[in-house]
């Protein structure tokens, strides 16, 4: 059973060819681009959702920050749709792979930091020392702030990986337990099944929330630096 638990997290291959590329590109099919001024029901619904999220996300940014609108919206749509697709049975979730999340987090974080250092050098350097610190503590605090800066992309990636992986693992375990308990004791199996349903509802929420948190944090780092 131990081996089976983690085989769903290995990158899928079919006859030696990596299918993972197709799986990563798959969510893009589910978001058709609007062709006309007034579209059909589905596309209008998607457009409305995207604009709602966009307004919510960009309201805190100035002009410079709002140039990142496309990037942030693509990010939240990609992570949200990938996480939700991962809840389908037998599917592979690319966001459970730390490599992929680091590949998203590090360039975005580095982009915000480099933007900050290029355009507002003094203010960016000033972030390393909070206002009102006592003089003896300054060296230590600068070191701590530097470490906290460099840990931001790692935290972004690991948060997403850990949340989605843990959720999937829990679902596997509780589902396996419910199945094994059907022969032993039916009421216990029923209770386990109800727990599984509640967990699935939680996982739907977590999928969307994690996408939102990731994008929000990137947007926050951007706001600090523009």
């Amino acid at each position: 059973m131990n081996e089976n638990l983690f085989t769903s997290f290995t990158t899928p291959t079919m006859m030696g060819l990596p299918v993972v590329v197709l799986i990563v590109m798959f969510p893009s099919i589910l978001f058709p681009s609007p062709n006309r001024l007034i579209n059909n029901r589905l596309v209008s619904l998607q457009q409305w959702l995207v604009q709602l999220t966009l307004k919510q996300m960009l309201i805190t940014h100035n002009y410079k920050g709002q140039t990142w609108a496309l990037m942030l919206m693509s990010l939240i749509l990609f992570i949200g749709s990938t996480n939700l697709l991962g809840l389908l049975p037998h599917s592979f979730t690319p966001t459970t792979q730390l490599s992929m999340n680091l590949g998203m987090a590090i360039p975005l974080w580095a982009g915000t930091v480099i933007t900050g250092f290029r355009h507002k050098t003094k203010a960016s350097l000033a972030h390393f020392l909070p206002q009102g610190t006592p003089v003896p503590l300054i060296p230590m605090l600068v070191i701590i702030e530097t470490i906290s800066l460099f840990i931001q992309p790692v935290a972004l990636a690991v948060r997403l990986t850990a949340n989605i992986t843990a959720g999937h693992l829990l679902m596997h375990l509780i589902g396996g337990a419910a199945l094994a308990l059907t022969n032993i004791s039916a009421p216990t199996a029923l209770i386990t099944f109800i727990i599984l349903i509640l967990l699935t509802i939680l996982e739907f929420a977590v999928a969307l929330i994690q996408a939102y948190v990731f994008t929000l944090l990137v947007s926050l780092y951007l706001h600090d630096n523009t």
Partner: protein
């Protein structure tokens, strides 16, 4: 009943079973032809089932069901051992 369109230009759903092998052999397997076939297939499905005036959940559900089936085929090898039978 003989069809007036040559076999090559018929869509896959219109090809008769007996003509299927000849249809496959005639198709364009160049690097330009295969993506073109996928693109045509995508737009045929999209315009028929998804991009309709009162679209519903059916169009996208079929895509998701096909995606699930595809993933099941990919991990069948690992799942074979979990079948509910007395002797594996």
């Amino acid at each position: 009943m003989a069809s007036s369109i040559p076999v090559k230009e018929e869509k896959l759903m219109d090809v008769r079973l007996g003509q299927l092998s000849s249809w496959i052999m005639i198709q364009d397997f160049t690097p330009k032809g295969i993506p073109g076939a996928f693109q045509r297939g995508y737009y045929q499905y999209y315009n028929k089932c998804v991009y309709v005036k009162k679209g519903g959940v059916a169009g996208i559900s079929m895509v998701l069901a096909a995606y699930m089936l595809f993933n099941y085929c990919c991990c069948y090898r690992e799942l074979r051992h979990e079948q509910l039978c007395k002797h594996h």
